[in-house]
């Protein structure tokens, strides 16, 4: 019974986990905006979510593969953080994290009302 509940909420749980990992990476990029030679990192969210939701239930999801960002305007000191792009992605990820949270909350409420009748 419990594993069915787990399975029911797995997608949104994995999405929420990946969103928080991505949020952390983007925060690292913003923090290193002035560090010479720092290379901005990110991962392909779609691929990572597909990998996380297709693993067998009960096994931990694989860590997302980190990719370096291709800068639109490279800076002279070798830093590839573009503050505007990074901030935009950070704000985007924040909203999507909140969305995943809302969906998960709704699923919980659905289950709760089914259990309580």
């Amino acid at each position: 019974m419990i594993d069915r509940l787990d399975e029911f909420m797995r997608f949104q749980t994995e999405a929420l986990k990946l969103r928080s990992t991505r949020q952390e990476l983007l925060a690292g990029n913003v923090a290193n905006a002035d560090t010479p030679s720092y290379k901005a990192v990110d991962f392909d969210f779609g691929k990572a979510l597909a990998a996380a939701t297709t693993t067998k239930a009960g096994t931990p999801a694989p860590a997302p593969e980190l990719l370096y960002r291709e800068p639109a305007q490279a800076s002279l000191d070798g830093n590839t953080v573009e503050m505007d792009a990074e901030r935009a992605k950070f704000a985007d990820n924040t909203v999507r994290y909140e969305a995943a949270l809302k969906f998960l909350n709704a699923q919980l409420k659905t289950m709760l009302s089914a259990l309580q009748g």
Partner: protein, 135 residues
């Protein structure tokens, strides 16, 4: 919970940027200090930022100040024969501080600091929303 890590990362950036602001303040304050404790004109100082790789696996990198280096550029020479520190030809060596560079540094540090504060606030509100999950 990886969102908690954001506090560490953002605060490392804030500490580094505030040190940069501190060094900038010292440079601007001493832009006209022709004699320091060693009798020489003040030399501009610059911080060197370094990314700290995560302890395990791949994660976000924190920032730290690897060191404060002195600018080796020659000091500005001003002709002022009446100055007590003037040399044989009547020139005084002024600090090699560039006020324009320092103002740019100050603005850049302050903006980066603000960005980190915003990142931290976002992480905080996300965590608070996560805490109310299921209620």
């Amino acid at each position: 919970m990886s969102l908690f890590n954001i506090f560490d990362v953002a605060s490392s950036a804030m500490a580094a940027q505030s040190e940069r602001l501190n060094v900038t303040a010292s440079n601007i304050a001493n832009a006209d200090s022709v004699a320091g404790p060693d009798g020489q004109a003040y030399r501009a100082k610059q911080v060197v930022f370094q990314a700290v790789p995560p302890d395990a696996g791949n994660g976000p990198a924190k920032v730290r100040v690897a060191g404060v280096v002195e600018d080796n550029a020659p000091g500005r020479r001003v002709f002022d024969p009446k100055h007590p520190l003037a040399d044989g030809q009547g020139y005084v060596t002024m600090p090699n501080v560039s006020i324009v560079d320092e103002m740019v540094n100050m603005l850049s540090a302050s903006r980066s600091y603000q960005s980190s504060v915003e990142v931290m606030n976002t992480a905080k509100s996300l965590l608070q929303k996560t805490l109310t999950l299921g209620s």
